[in-house]
Subunit: 537 residues, 2 copies
Amino acid sequence: MTQSISIFDTTLRDGTQGEGISLTAEDKLKIALRLDALGIHYIEGGNPGSNSKDIEFFKRARELNLNAKLTAFGSTRRKNSSCEQDGNLRNLIESGAKAATLVGKTWDFHVHTALQTTLDENLAMIGESIAFLKRHGLEAIFDSEHFFDGYKANPAYALAALTRAREAGADWIVLCDTNGGTLPSEIAEIVSGVTAQVNAPIGIHTHNDCELAVANTLAAVAAGARQIQGTINGYGERCGNANLCSIIPTLQLKLGYPVVSDEQLRSLTSVARYVGEIANVMLPVNQPYVGTAAFAHKGGIHVSAILKDSKTYEHISPDLVGNKQRVLVSELAGQSNILSKAQEMGLDVTTDSAKAKGVIERIKQLEHEGYQFEGADASLELLLREAYTDLVDVFSVESFKILVEKSKAGTQTEAIVKLNVGGQQVYTAAEGNGPVNALDNALRKALSQYFPGIREIHLSDYKVRVLDEKETTAAKVRVLIESTDFKDSWSTVGVSSNVIEASWEALIDSIRYALLGMAQSDFAPEAPREALGLVNH
Amino acid sequence: MTQSISIFDTTLRDGTQGEGISLTAEDKLKIALRLDALGIHYIEGGNPGSNSKDIEFFKRARELNLNAKLTAFGSTRRKNSSCEQDGNLRNLIESGAKAATLVGKTWDFHVHTALQTTLDENLAMIGESIAFLKRHGLEAIFDSEHFFDGYKANPAYALAALTRAREAGADWIVLCDTNGGTLPSEIAEIVSGVTAQVNAPIGIHTHNDCELAVANTLAAVAAGARQIQGTINGYGERCGNANLCSIIPTLQLKLGYPVVSDEQLRSLTSVARYVGEIANVMLPVNQPYVGTAAFAHKGGIHVSAILKDSKTYEHISPDLVGNKQRVLVSELAGQSNILSKAQEMGLDVTTDSAKAKGVIERIKQLEHEGYQFEGADASLELLLREAYTDLVDVFSVESFKILVEKSKAGTQTEAIVKLNVGGQQVYTAAEGNGPVNALDNALRKALSQYFPGIREIHLSDYKVRVLDEKETTAAKVRVLIESTDFKDSWSTVGVSSNVIEASWEALIDSIRYALLGMAQSDFAPEAPREALGLVNH
């Protein structure tokens, strides 16, 4: 049996049926390019029959000249009609896609309940619709909806539906566990049965309703399936589809199937995070292979062991999928976490463990107050540098004021800040779209005359997290800010019951950290580095 | 072979090794009570040897009189020493726990690299430590760390370690896939091998680094494992542990193992969400069985089918695990979603589909601007009522002002609001911990004289989401607010580039919705329901 596996990505179609996932045509084009670069074989772009956005996508996608086969999604023709009269089917042809996925019923219960037609008419709908696609020169992929439930209820009819599709010319027969309720043992048995009885290339399409979508896909591959349908990050209806970001590395690194190139595999983490950004969904930190915590070590014993040899607590080398190892600092952490963190920063700490103990105590205290350094490396670095170097702050904040006024005329927001920069008082004001933006603007305005380099810095992410829901609007909030100067990026944290104060704290840390990194040349002549206390960092 | 399965929960120990998970002793006690009520058999409370918080937990947990066996976690004794001298082992005894889990090495590579001792000394550490626990009358559970990697590298030594533990009196031999890199097929083969060669009750402990922890646990059970170690929501080091919220219902509903009572199973969703709240981690909406989207239907075809029969797109009935079906409204939604939503609200809409089209258009427009009705049912209901009933607002906002001032003296926040309530102007001010809290206070103050019932309402959750990271502090933010009056709870949404304006919008919707629901009696006599335009809702 061939070892070669076709990866069929439906992030742009089934993926958008996940709660909170919504993609513009522009978003879909961006994602398609990244999927193509990753080496995906089929990219299902959407349902040109269902909305104009998808029609636009297919129109513009033709100009991308992808290596992947662009695939359009639709259903078998309407009951008691003809394919020629079926607008949905005609849209598939007109989409210009080289391949089309047709979903059809194979569960008799669905034929009666959902379609409300006869078993024979459903077979006719399948056969004629597939033949229609083939007549128009498309590669035809038959998605047999609810196949496993259908096979359990009426195996003869479920197989008859597959056979009808194959006889009509279907290039792939894809077995779908649409409700996600099937177990790996059942998948293995049923797929083996199908490969024995249906002479066609078989595909698998699973859902994650039992947290088994990946295992079910692997079981199907072991039983002979050679096309895998899934999505990036497992996005999809209800509990989602099979997660290609877990399936691809497992097939390639652990089962020896050549799926993509090693180079492409190393782009997996960035593709996963990119798609999450575009879809505007935060990746779970603990997502297998690609999550920020997938190779993050927190338990003290684990950390001391990985410092000796990372194989001790890592099932693969993170760089194979473009991820990296992290050591988390938290109350669970032994000194080893702090030490390795500080060593990463090039601080000489091993010699002085009394100091390390003091830092751990301080971190525990701050975490107790709601701070989180796992996601704020720059704030942690400032804290460690304060302990281990003669870090001198180059500016301090004397006061700030925020005024937000909403009336019929609209909303006005302004911030007034009073700073002390290397002995000189700076007092200035700025407007903004919101209170934090106004503060940010005022702060930059005040400091950029001393540190022109600050103009290069911008905030790349801003997150607000309520710490104690019970207290709601009076609760403490934690603000995480990510900043970048186009070369590097760093994240900082602030905590307060006042969202503005918490944001301010994280903003200040971000600037303080940026100033650490700035080269002499970034500073205006009238503010020499030494005068600003930036020595020995 | 016995069908009875013991569930061993390590949320309070391994779970807290997950990034961002941190529990106080108080949190742990609360969670232990819920786990006990769920019918968990073993509750691993922590490592009394590693920190004082866990010592306090075990002290206070004794007073809870749990049905579950409270279990303490520790390691085999230090190399080249005695159990009597081992503070960590003594802490296990002093914890007062009835059972203890001892983790020991079974992978020769780890003995050399992590422990840096001889293979024989490691066997002695295992045997003596287990015997020590038994001498002190504890039930002894041996967690064989990295067993599967160890068995693959050196099966004879891995089995020798298990045998030594069993001979010393271990009540359970638990096989751990500590690095989470093992595949279901390997688990099945190796566990079968162990059950054939080691005469002991076998347990399984898996991690999710390949997104296979649940499948690996099921494979081990099929091969004879009878204790399952996992955590609520799959919290744990790196990618997490086996998720008991997926394993328990699958074993009980699909494989026929009696794990907990039907009543206890119906509490699963609320336990999962409760633990998420305490751990202060948002549950992924698409989490199997217990997520808010686990039975949420978005695709138009799916929705029209479930309206005919929910079995068409649901693998189990949601109420078996205490979850419920939802229909999501979004651009993917056909009219069927809107119609079923409106029908849920008791609105008569089927007759007028032109209006439904109009509402869909409006919703698409708002979603395009960043609104999200999937998580804001009350705002959606207000929108539908505006379209389908003669909804009249009982108050309007003329203006508000926010002042935040931070100085050496501290931070001051005040809000001034001007409302029009049933023709009368109300102008008032209030302070707060933060701008949103101050607005909330001022709003309640202004309205409670007309609607005393408002005093019953409080906000139960407050979320802020940045919509376009690229714009950062100038970006649009979406605020989701959840409110409750102790009977019901409802959620509302606001969107603006100004976090205060967005919060204000969601606050106003929350109050508007509350007023819809309020009975006549909740209103002060001087403000009769009719006068306030609250007729026909």
